[in-house]
Point group: C2
Chain length 153, copies 2
Amino acid sequence: MAPRWAFEDFEVGTEIELGSKTVTAEEIVEFASQFDAQPMHLDEEAGKASILGGLSASGWHSCCMLMRLMCDRFLLDSTSQGAPGVDYVRWKKPVLAGDRLAGISVVEEKRLSSTRPGLGFVTCRHELTNQHGKVVMELQNTGMFLTREAAGL
Amino acid sequence: MAPRWAFEDFEVGTEIELGSKTVTAEEIVEFASQFDAQPMHLDEEAGKASILGGLSASGWHSCCMLMRLMCDRFLLDSTSQGAPGVDYVRWKKPVLAGDRLAGISVVEEKRLSSTRPGLGFVTCRHELTNQHGKVVMELQNTGMFLTREAAGL
Protein backbone atom coordinates (compact mmCIF):
# COMPACT_ATOMS: atom_id res chain seq x y z
CA MET A 1 0.00 0.00 0.00
CA ALA A 2 1.43 3.38 -0.99
CA PRO A 3 1.46 5.73 2.01
CA ARG A 4 -0.92 8.65 1.89
CA TRP A 5 1.48 11.21 3.37
CA ALA A 6 4.86 12.05 1.82
CA PHE A 7 6.90 15.25 2.25
CA GLU A 8 4.95 16.94 -0.57
CA ASP A 9 1.61 16.39 1.17
CA PHE A 10 2.39 18.67 4.09
CA GLU A 11 1.89 22.37 3.36
CA VAL A 12 2.51 25.22 5.77
CA GLY A 13 -0.87 25.78 7.41
CA THR A 14 -2.12 22.23 6.81
CA GLU A 15 -4.25 21.19 9.81
CA ILE A 16 -4.57 17.49 10.57
CA GLU A 17 -7.37 16.51 12.94
CA LEU A 18 -6.10 13.63 15.03
CA GLY A 19 -9.39 12.37 16.42
CA SER A 20 -9.93 11.90 20.13
CA LYS A 21 -9.34 9.59 23.06
CA THR A 22 -10.91 9.22 26.50
CA VAL A 23 -8.39 8.82 29.31
CA THR A 24 -9.33 6.23 31.93
CA ALA A 25 -8.21 6.08 35.56
CA GLU A 26 -6.81 2.60 34.87
CA GLU A 27 -4.61 3.87 32.04
CA ILE A 28 -3.37 6.78 34.16
CA VAL A 29 -2.37 4.49 37.03
CA GLU A 30 -0.85 1.83 34.77
CA PHE A 31 1.35 4.34 32.95
CA ALA A 32 2.39 6.07 36.18
CA SER A 33 3.24 2.76 37.84
CA GLN A 34 5.69 2.06 35.05
CA PHE A 35 7.23 5.46 34.45
CA ASP A 36 6.15 8.27 36.78
CA ALA A 37 4.98 7.02 40.17
CA GLN A 38 4.27 10.41 41.72
CA PRO A 39 1.26 10.20 44.07
CA MET A 40 -1.04 12.48 42.04
CA HIS A 41 -0.73 10.06 39.11
CA LEU A 42 -1.53 7.00 41.23
CA ASP A 43 -4.25 7.98 43.67
CA GLU A 44 -7.43 10.07 43.53
CA GLU A 45 -7.03 11.50 47.03
CA ALA A 46 -3.39 12.44 46.45
CA GLY A 47 -4.44 14.05 43.18
CA LYS A 48 -7.14 16.09 44.91
CA ALA A 49 -4.59 17.25 47.49
CA SER A 50 -2.18 18.36 44.73
CA ILE A 51 -2.33 21.43 42.50
CA LEU A 52 -3.67 19.14 39.75
CA GLY A 53 -7.02 18.71 41.53
CA GLY A 54 -7.62 14.99 40.96
CA LEU A 55 -6.15 11.75 39.65
CA SER A 56 -4.22 13.11 36.70
CA ALA A 57 -2.09 11.74 33.90
CA SER A 58 1.67 12.11 33.90
CA GLY A 59 2.72 14.76 31.41
CA TRP A 60 4.74 12.05 29.68
CA HIS A 61 1.56 10.01 29.35
CA SER A 62 -0.06 12.94 27.54
CA CYS A 63 2.91 13.03 25.15
CA CYS A 64 2.49 9.31 24.50
CA MET A 65 -1.27 9.61 23.95
CA LEU A 66 -0.63 12.39 21.44
CA MET A 67 1.94 10.19 19.68
CA ARG A 68 -0.61 7.38 19.44
CA LEU A 69 -3.19 9.72 17.90
CA MET A 70 -0.57 10.95 15.41
CA CYS A 71 0.39 7.38 14.50
CA ASP A 72 -3.21 6.34 13.95
CA ARG A 73 -4.13 9.41 11.95
CA PHE A 74 -1.14 9.91 9.67
CA LEU A 75 2.32 8.76 10.77
CA LEU A 76 1.74 5.05 10.11
CA ASP A 77 0.41 5.97 6.67
CA SER A 78 3.35 8.19 5.76
CA THR A 79 6.96 8.15 4.56
CA SER A 80 8.11 9.12 8.10
CA GLN A 81 11.78 8.53 8.88
CA GLY A 82 11.43 9.45 12.54
CA ALA A 83 12.33 12.69 14.29
CA PRO A 84 15.54 14.09 15.76
CA GLY A 85 13.76 15.38 18.84
CA VAL A 86 11.14 17.69 20.27
CA ASP A 87 11.37 21.49 20.19
CA TYR A 88 9.25 22.00 23.33
CA VAL A 89 6.41 20.55 25.39
CA ARG A 90 4.03 22.71 27.44
CA TRP A 91 1.77 21.01 29.98
CA LYS A 92 -0.86 23.71 30.35
CA LYS A 93 -3.74 22.09 32.25
CA PRO A 94 -4.19 18.87 34.22
CA VAL A 95 -5.41 15.80 32.31
CA LEU A 96 -7.88 14.14 34.67
CA ALA A 97 -9.38 10.65 34.65
CA GLY A 98 -12.40 10.64 32.34
CA ASP A 99 -11.20 13.55 30.21
CA ARG A 100 -11.75 13.28 26.48
CA LEU A 101 -8.77 14.65 24.56
CA ALA A 102 -8.88 15.75 20.93
CA GLY A 103 -5.68 16.33 18.98
CA ILE A 104 -4.66 18.54 16.10
CA SER A 105 -1.35 18.94 14.24
CA VAL A 106 -0.60 22.13 12.32
CA VAL A 107 2.27 22.39 9.84
CA GLU A 108 4.41 25.40 10.75
CA GLU A 109 7.42 24.99 8.44
CA LYS A 110 8.88 22.62 5.87
CA ARG A 111 12.15 22.37 3.98
CA LEU A 112 14.15 19.86 1.98
CA SER A 113 17.37 18.56 3.51
CA SER A 114 20.44 20.26 2.05
CA THR A 115 22.54 17.14 2.57
CA ARG A 116 20.19 14.17 2.06
CA PRO A 117 18.41 14.21 -1.30
CA GLY A 118 14.83 12.99 -1.08
CA LEU A 119 14.46 13.82 2.60
CA GLY A 120 12.50 16.73 4.02
CA PHE A 121 11.85 18.24 7.43
CA VAL A 122 8.30 19.10 8.53
CA THR A 123 7.82 21.15 11.71
CA CYS A 124 4.41 20.77 13.35
CA ARG A 125 2.76 22.27 16.39
CA HIS A 126 0.47 19.78 18.08
CA GLU A 127 -2.28 20.42 20.62
CA LEU A 128 -4.41 18.26 22.86
CA THR A 129 -7.69 19.90 23.92
CA ASN A 130 -10.08 18.57 26.57
CA GLN A 131 -13.88 18.28 26.51
CA HIS A 132 -14.14 21.79 28.01
CA GLY A 133 -12.28 23.30 25.04
CA LYS A 134 -9.12 23.94 27.07
CA VAL A 135 -5.72 23.18 25.52
CA VAL A 136 -4.06 20.80 28.00
CA MET A 137 -0.79 20.31 26.10
CA GLU A 138 1.10 22.01 23.30
CA LEU A 139 4.14 20.41 21.68
CA GLN A 140 6.28 21.23 18.67
CA ASN A 141 8.59 18.89 16.80
CA THR A 142 10.20 18.35 13.44
CA GLY A 143 9.67 15.08 11.61
CA MET A 144 11.63 13.71 8.66
CA PHE A 145 9.70 12.46 5.63
CA LEU A 146 10.80 11.03 2.29
CA THR A 147 9.66 12.73 -0.89
CA ARG A 148 7.35 10.78 -3.21
CA GLU A 149 10.21 10.14 -5.61
CA ALA A 150 12.61 8.94 -2.91
CA ALA A 151 9.89 6.64 -1.55
CA GLY A 152 9.28 5.23 -5.03
CA LEU A 153 5.70 6.54 -5.14
CA MET B 1 9.46 10.43 56.00
CA ALA B 2 10.94 13.85 55.25
CA PRO B 3 11.96 14.07 51.59
CA ARG B 4 15.68 14.26 50.90
CA TRP B 5 15.48 16.82 48.10
CA ALA B 6 13.92 20.28 48.55
CA PHE B 7 14.58 23.43 46.50
CA GLU B 8 17.62 24.28 48.64
CA ASP B 9 19.31 20.95 47.90
CA PHE B 10 19.79 21.68 44.22
CA GLU B 11 22.78 23.87 43.41
CA VAL B 12 23.87 25.00 39.98
CA GLY B 13 26.35 22.36 38.90
CA THR B 14 24.91 19.60 41.11
CA GLU B 15 25.19 16.30 39.23
CA ILE B 16 22.78 13.53 40.14
CA GLU B 17 23.69 10.04 38.93
CA LEU B 18 20.45 8.30 38.02
CA GLY B 19 21.66 4.72 37.88
CA SER B 20 21.09 2.54 34.86
CA LYS B 21 18.58 0.32 33.11
CA THR B 22 18.83 -2.39 30.46
CA VAL B 23 16.26 -2.09 27.68
CA THR B 24 14.71 -5.38 26.57
CA ALA B 25 13.18 -6.21 23.21
CA GLU B 26 9.93 -7.07 25.01
CA GLU B 27 9.73 -3.63 26.61
CA ILE B 28 10.46 -1.90 23.31
CA VAL B 29 7.69 -3.80 21.53
CA GLU B 30 5.20 -3.43 24.38
CA PHE B 31 5.67 0.33 24.56
CA ALA B 32 5.54 0.74 20.78
CA SER B 33 2.39 -1.36 20.51
CA GLN B 34 0.65 1.04 22.85
CA PHE B 35 1.98 4.40 21.73
CA ASP B 36 4.26 4.38 18.67
CA ALA B 37 3.64 1.43 16.38
CA GLN B 38 6.18 2.35 13.71
CA PRO B 39 7.75 -0.79 12.21
CA MET B 40 11.30 -0.16 13.49
CA HIS B 41 9.95 -0.19 17.05
CA LEU B 42 8.06 -3.46 16.58
CA ASP B 43 10.22 -5.74 14.48
CA GLU B 44 13.92 -6.58 14.29
CA GLU B 45 13.97 -6.90 10.51
CA ALA B 46 12.15 -3.61 9.99
CA GLY B 47 14.58 -2.00 12.42
CA LYS B 48 17.55 -3.33 10.51
CA ALA B 49 16.09 -1.95 7.28
CA SER B 50 15.63 1.49 8.86
CA ILE B 51 18.22 4.17 9.61
CA LEU B 52 18.11 3.00 13.25
CA GLY B 53 19.86 -0.27 12.42
CA GLY B 54 17.87 -2.67 14.59
CA LEU B 55 14.84 -3.08 16.83
CA SER B 56 14.94 0.28 18.57
CA ALA B 57 12.98 2.05 21.26
CA SER B 58 10.55 4.84 20.46
CA GLY B 59 12.06 8.20 21.39
CA TRP B 60 9.09 8.66 23.71
CA HIS B 61 10.01 5.40 25.41
CA SER B 62 13.49 6.82 26.09
CA CYS B 63 11.84 9.88 27.68
CA CYS B 64 9.73 7.61 29.86
CA MET B 65 12.69 5.46 30.89
CA LEU B 66 14.58 8.62 31.87
CA MET B 67 11.57 9.77 33.90
CA ARG B 68 11.52 6.43 35.72
CA LEU B 69 15.21 6.74 36.58
CA MET B 70 14.61 10.30 37.84
CA CYS B 71 11.67 9.16 39.95
CA ASP B 72 13.62 6.30 41.51
CA ARG B 73 16.72 8.36 42.17
CA PHE B 74 15.34 11.65 43.49
CA LEU B 75 11.90 12.86 42.37
CA LEU B 76 9.90 10.51 44.60
CA ASP B 77 12.09 11.57 47.52
CA SER B 78 11.67 15.30 46.89
CA THR B 79 9.28 18.22 47.34
CA SER B 80 8.51 18.13 43.59
CA GLN B 81 5.38 19.94 42.49
CA GLY B 82 5.59 18.76 38.90
CA ALA B 83 6.85 20.59 35.85
CA PRO B 84 5.27 23.02 33.38
CA GLY B 85 6.87 21.30 30.40
CA VAL B 86 10.05 20.32 28.64
CA ASP B 87 12.48 22.80 27.08
CA TYR B 88 13.77 20.37 24.44
CA VAL B 89 14.44 16.70 23.71
CA ARG B 90 17.23 15.52 21.40
CA TRP B 91 17.25 11.92 20.24
CA LYS B 92 20.88 11.59 19.25
CA LYS B 93 21.48 7.87 18.74
CA PRO B 94 19.27 4.79 18.38
CA VAL B 95 18.37 2.90 21.57
CA LEU B 96 18.58 -0.77 20.60
CA ALA B 97 17.27 -3.88 22.32
CA GLY B 98 19.82 -4.98 24.94
CA ASP B 99 21.32 -1.53 25.42
CA ARG B 100 22.18 -0.52 28.96
CA LEU B 101 21.34 3.14 29.58
CA ALA B 102 22.81 5.24 32.38
CA GLY B 103 21.29 8.58 33.32
CA ILE B 104 22.56 11.81 34.80
CA SER B 105 20.83 15.07 35.71
CA VAL B 106 22.81 18.30 35.97
CA VAL B 107 21.37 21.43 37.57
CA GLU B 108 21.74 24.34 35.13
CA GLU B 109 19.72 27.09 36.82
CA LYS B 110 17.54 27.73 39.85
CA ARG B 111 15.36 30.59 41.05
CA LEU B 112 12.59 31.26 43.52
CA SER B 113 9.16 32.02 42.14
CA SER B 114 8.39 35.75 42.19
CA THR B 115 4.68 35.07 42.66
CA ARG B 116 4.42 31.90 44.77
CA PRO B 117 6.31 32.09 48.07
CA GLY B 118 7.99 28.84 49.01
CA LEU B 119 8.16 27.57 45.42
CA GLY B 120 11.28 27.41 43.30
CA PHE B 121 12.17 26.45 39.74
CA VAL B 122 15.08 24.11 39.03
CA THR B 123 16.26 23.69 35.43
CA CYS B 124 18.13 20.47 34.72
CA ARG B 125 19.79 18.99 31.67
CA HIS B 126 19.43 15.22 31.61
CA GLU B 127 21.37 12.69 29.56
CA LEU B 128 21.02 9.00 28.82
CA THR B 129 24.28 7.31 27.78
CA ASN B 130 24.58 3.79 26.39
CA GLN B 131 27.10 1.04 27.23
CA HIS B 132 29.41 2.35 24.48
CA GLY B 133 29.65 5.76 26.17
CA LYS B 134 27.47 7.45 23.54
CA VAL B 135 24.82 9.96 24.63
CA VAL B 136 21.58 8.64 23.12
CA MET B 137 19.26 11.35 24.45
CA GLU B 138 19.57 14.82 25.91
CA LEU B 139 16.61 16.60 27.49
CA GLN B 140 16.18 19.81 29.46
CA ASN B 141 13.29 20.75 31.68
CA THR B 142 12.36 22.92 34.63
CA GLY B 143 10.81 21.34 37.70
CA MET B 144 9.02 23.06 40.55
CA PHE B 145 10.08 22.25 44.13
CA LEU B 146 8.92 23.53 47.51
CA THR B 147 11.46 25.09 49.84
CA ARG B 148 12.16 23.29 53.13
CA GLU B 149 10.11 25.83 55.02
CA ALA B 150 7.13 25.63 52.69
CA ALA B 151 7.25 21.84 52.90
CA GLY B 152 7.35 21.99 56.69
CA LEU B 153 10.78 20.39 56.87
